[in-house]
């Protein structure tokens, strides 16, 4: 055997200096812009001179209280602004040297920027309640996380699922109707996955049996579910709302001890069973995808289905099963809109969350954990918009409601870096 069997793909060029990669100025520019916004808009010219902002943490059920923190608005924002300017300078310097920065850098930058923004935005009203802000963020992330998990299971096995939106809506609808008819929110929770899976049945039927373009099928399915639920809503549900569309809510089940930790307890462990189910789904999916036989096969059929076929793995059968499981997950997420939030079903109440879930999946690089953090980011942006517009801040509330979508565009367009979708994603597999 030759000695050259184990080699890295390519070595560095002979004339190394002549062909350095072009400097990537994207991040330094964004950092600098945000740092200047902080320093000038939130700090020097923020109009918050002499005012103060209080961050409160207590939730009343805590084992021990964390005292509220009060800061003087303008000096704090200016101080953070100066730190951010320094960080932007460091980022620029490193970019010029073509050095990479760890993930901690944007995270720290983002948290500081956010603190400055909250300090400035809370200067008029004086009080920012941190715990409800985070708890609300998690709540709004629930359908996103379920949706992203659905998309991920499908795409890892090579089926693009644009119909997450429709599956969420179908889940919300069936959960509301069943819970209302049985007068038990848990019945709705049990029914919801079937609605999502039913949409998935149609998806797999056309995508796998008839090789129809998966994106087109997904779009059509979304429209179909909207039409169907609207029709049933305005005929059946509004005829007899007491019977078919009465509000049912999953009760909050506090977990002893864990639920009493300040800040974290109310956010993570004083939730309904749906949220606890979400923790389980994410953990199980992560382990299954990367450490189980099912996961290995799923990743294989999403990357190179023919290779899987040659070792006797039935590609299309696995794709159907995975897409149905995924549909069930999305349906469960849909239950959040109705029984999860204690609301009756309303027309088109999923409101584009399925598409944001897809964005979370991509931003999370098709990894369950990554997708969860991406979904939390979107959920937080949305809740921040809601909270601030009700608190009455200097920023117009319509602008604040755009916040999650702006975050989505920036995240997906610029900050993802190099992502690699499963290679056979969206490609029908046919045998001769």
């Amino acid at each position: 055997m030759s000695a050259s069997t184990e080699t890295t793909p390519r070595q560095t060029p002979a004339n190394g200096a002549a062909l350095r990669t072009p400097v990537d100025w994207k991040f330094p520019i964004v950092y600098s812009a945000l740092a200047l916004v902080t320093l000038l808009l939130f700090g020097l010219f923020g109009g918050a001179a002499g005012k103060s902002t209080t961050f409160s943490f207590a939730a009343g059920t805590d084992l021990f209280g964390i005292p509220p923190v009060t800061v003087s608005s303008m000096p704090t924002a200016i101080a953070i602004g100066i730190v951010l300017v320094a960080m932007a300078a460091i980022a620029t310097w490193l970019a010029a040297k073509r050095e990479k920065i760890g993930i901690w850098f944007p995270v720290v930058f983002g948290v500081l920027f956010l603190s400055a923004f909250l300090t400035w935005a809370g200067a008029d009203t004086g009080r920012i309640p941190i715990t409800p802000l985070l708890a609300g963020a998690l709540a709004l992330s629930v359908p996103l996380i379920f949706g992203a998990m659905c998309g991920l299971v499908g795409e890892r096995s090579g089926i693009i699922n644009i119909a997450i939106e429709g599956q969420l809506l179908a889940g919300a609808f069936l959960a509301a109707v069943v819970a209302s008819a049985v007068k038990n929110p848990y019945a709705g929770l049990v029914a919801a996955p079937f609605a999502g899976a039913l949409v998935a049945v149609v998806l797999t039927f056309f995508a796998i049996r008839y090789w129809v373009d998966q994106i087109i099928i997904g779009v059509v399915l979304n429209v179909l579910v909207v039409g169907l639920t609207n029709f049933l809503f305005s005929t059946v549900l509004t005829q007899n709302p007491e019977m078919w569309n009465a509000r049912q809510q999953l009760p909050v089940i506090p977990i002893p001890l864990l639920g009493d930790i300040p800040v974290l307890g109310p956010v993570l462990f004083r939730q309904s069973i749906l949220v606890y189910l979400m923790y389980v789904v994410v953990a199980v999916l992560y382990i299954a995808l990367f450490h189980s036989k099912w996961g290995l096969r799923t990743r294989a059929i999403g990357e190179h289905p023919k290779a899987a076929d040659t070792v006797g793995i039935p590609v299309n059968r696995n794709r159907v099963i995975n897409t149905l499981i995924a549909g069930g997950i999305a349906g469960l997420g849909g239950a959040f809109f109705t029984v999860g939030s204690g609301l009756a079903f309303g027309k088109e109440m999923s409101a584009g969350q399925g598409f944001i879930a897809l964005a979370a999946m991509i931003l999370g690089k098709w990894n369950p954990i990554g997708a969860v953090f991406a979904a939390l980011l979107f959920g937080f942006a949305r809740n921040l918009g809601n909270t601030l517009s009700t608190m009455g801040t200097p920023v117009p509330s319509d602008l604040l409601l755009m916040l999650p979508y702006i975050v989505t565009i920036f995240a997906v367009a610029g900050f993802v870096g190099k992502v690699r979708a499963p290679a056979a994603n969206g490609k029908a597999y046919a045998k001769q």
């Binding site: 055997m1 030759s2 050259s4 069997t5 184990e6 080699t7 890295t8 793909p9 390519r10 070595q11 560095t12 060029p13 002979a14 004339n15 002549a18 062909l19 990669t21 382990i287 450490h291 189980s292 036989k293 099912w294 996961g295 290995l296 096969r297 990743r299 294989a300 990357e303 190179h304 023919k306 290779a307 899987a308 076929d309 040659t310 070792v311 006797g312 793995i313 190099k418 690699r420 290679a423 045998k431 001769q432």
Partner: protein
């Protein structure tokens, strides 16, 4: 294990890919299945492996009839296959690749990757494969990927191993290593079916040879047969394996590349500081194993990829910043590597494909409108000139065989006055007859004074055409050597060994390959 195929027939629609094929492979035999591209070798093996269901015929293992409804059955019966295009997931590790489909599990159906790793390490050390179980497939060179495929088959206790065109992607030295592996497997009692169209290798390794042509078995041959006998059997008529050509009469160098560097999408350097000169009336062949930057070099010349550094000059003018169309206008003829995706448009007619880059010029266009009548008339002329076999010039080009499609591409690229020709893999996938024709046309173009750059991974083609040979390895030009350089020296250079060292190693006899030894045998 003894394998026997009796009267296997496989049809795709009206096309009969395999017609009543009989084949017997004795235990511990290396049996070569020889035939041209498209003769039906791969179809036959895919049928044997359970990927296709045959319309007629039966498969017998140790004289007992078996039927396979999928590859799983074939594997269970002891058949392993190494596909021409490897069936490996690029992002998996070696251990994951070997485990796939036959996953060892521990409690809770979790993967037992430790066991998979151990299996890889065991087989790897038993045969000296030198494969790290945790290496990621896409980081491995093709030779190592092929060994992973063999480990896959062996880990499922394959008694019969099918190797489908295993040497297509290997350097001569890697081919030698593969032959050594095949010998070891044979010594261990494994039967091997070795599919190839390369005569040299067949004679070096096979115990028995079955030749198929157009889906039918046309004869058995012994490894002692001469190359031209085998070629005649394979093609069905006498063939000339080398093309007659006069010595080059080169003029001044009108085309040159200086310090050319190309970087791919993932920021890997694929063409690394390449400098070359090509003179009028000579063919510079670029040799190298597939994926060592030759394709990117050709694409940079025509302008399909933007180089990161360096210059390309033709007739004293720098081509930097010129579009592909402008470069074509300067008189560059370009035969792309992948005929079906880059050379022709399958659904367009033959005559339309002949003017893909001339559609807006006289006489094919007049102002805003095209001149379909002229296109047809000129097309008919080229059909005669380039000996294109077709039923109508208005048929879609996808109805033609690969050889005739390539003739259409050549008629387009050579049918106008050229200042320079770049041809990438001009005969890949062609039958022997078409190869002869393509080579003759390229030599004719050279003789008319055009500088020619021919990229080829087939050493036979390189030796046949070249006036000088540039060998590329990992994006660099290892050396530029004269046309009569020995095959073994080129083989070593294709593995990155510098010219001097390669020459020295060949002279002291330490690097002679089995393949070249087979060449020396009296035929």
């Amino acid at each position: 294990m003894k394998l026997e195929l009796r009267g296997i027939t496989k049809r795709f629609g009206t096309f009969t890919a395999n017609d009543a094929i009989d084949l017997v492979v004795e235990p511990g035999e290396i049996h070569a299945l020889l035939g041209e591209n498209g003769a039906g070798k791969s179809t036959l093996m895919n049928t044997l492996y359970g990927l296709y269901a045959p319309e007629e015929g039966e498969i017998l293992i140790d004289d007992r009839p078996v039927t396979f409804s999928g590859p799983g059955d074939a594997v269970a019966a002891g058949i392993g296959m190494v596909h021409q295009h490897f069936m490996l997931v690029p992002v998996f590790t070696v251990a994951e690749s070997v485990a796939l489909g036959y996953e060892p599990t521990k409690a809770g159906s979790l993967l037992d990757l430790a066991q998979a790793r151990k299996k890889v390490a065991d087989i790897s050390s038993r045969f000296g494969f030198n494969i790290n179980p945790d290496a990621v497939i896409e980081d491995l060179p093709v030779g190592a990927q092929q060994r992973v495929e063999i480990i896959k088959a062996l880990s499922r206790d394959a008694q019969i191993l099918i190797l489908d065109e295993p040497t297509a992607v290997l350097t001569p030295q890697e081919t030698d290593e593969l032959i050594e592996i095949m010998r070891q497997l044979k010594a261990g009692g494994t039967s091997i079916v070795f599919i190839t169209h390369k005569l040299r290798e067949v004679r070096a390794i096979a115990d028995g040879i079955t030749v198929i042509r157009r889906g039918k078995v046309v004869g058995e041959a012994s490894p002692e047969s001469s190359e031209s006998e085998l070629a005649g059997l394979m093609v069905g008529r006498d063939v000339h394996l080398t093309t007659e050509k006069d010595d080059a009469d080169p003029g001044e160098a009108t085309f040159s590349v200086r310090g050319l560097t190309v970087v791919d999408k993932s920021e890997q350097v694929v063409v690394d500081d390449v400098s070359l000169d090509v003179r009028r009336g000579e063919i510079l062949a670029i040799a190298g194993v597939d994926g060592n930057g030759q394709s990117e070099l050709a694409e940079a010349i025509i302008g399909l990829v933007e180089p990161r550094a360096g210059s390309i000059t033709l007739d004293g003018q720098d081509l930097a910043g010129l579009s592909v169309k402008e470069r074509l206008g300067r008189g560059i003829g370009f035969v792309p590597e992948d005929r079906s995706t880059d050379g022709v448009i399958g659904s367009f007619t033959i005559s339309e494909n002949m003017i893909l880059d001339l559609y807006d010029q006289a006489p094919y266009a007049k102002g805003m409108s095209m001149q379909p009548a002229v296109v047809r008339v000129e097309g008919e002329k080229k059909v005669g000139e380039f000996d294109i076999r077709l039923s109508s010039i208005d048929d879609p080009i996808s109805t033609l065989s690969g050889g005739n499609q390539q003739k259409v591409v050549l008629s387009r690229e050579l049918g106008r006055p050229l200042r320079m020709l770049v041809a990438s893999q001009p005969t890949r996938g062609l039958d022997v007859g078409s190869i002869e024709f393509v080579h003759k046309r390229i030599i004719a173009e050279r003789d008319s004074g055009t500088p020619c750059v021919i990229v080829s991974t087939e050493l036979d083609e390189v030796l046949n055409l070249a006036d000088r040979i540039a060998v590329m390895y990992r994006g660099r030009v290892v050396g530029v050597v004269p046309a009569h350089t020995p095959r073994d020296v080129l083989g070593l250079m294709m593995a990155g060994v510098p010219e001097d060292e390669a020459l020295a190693r060949v002279e002291d006899g330490s690097a002679a390959t089995e393949i070249s030894a087979a060449e020396e045998d009296p035929a």
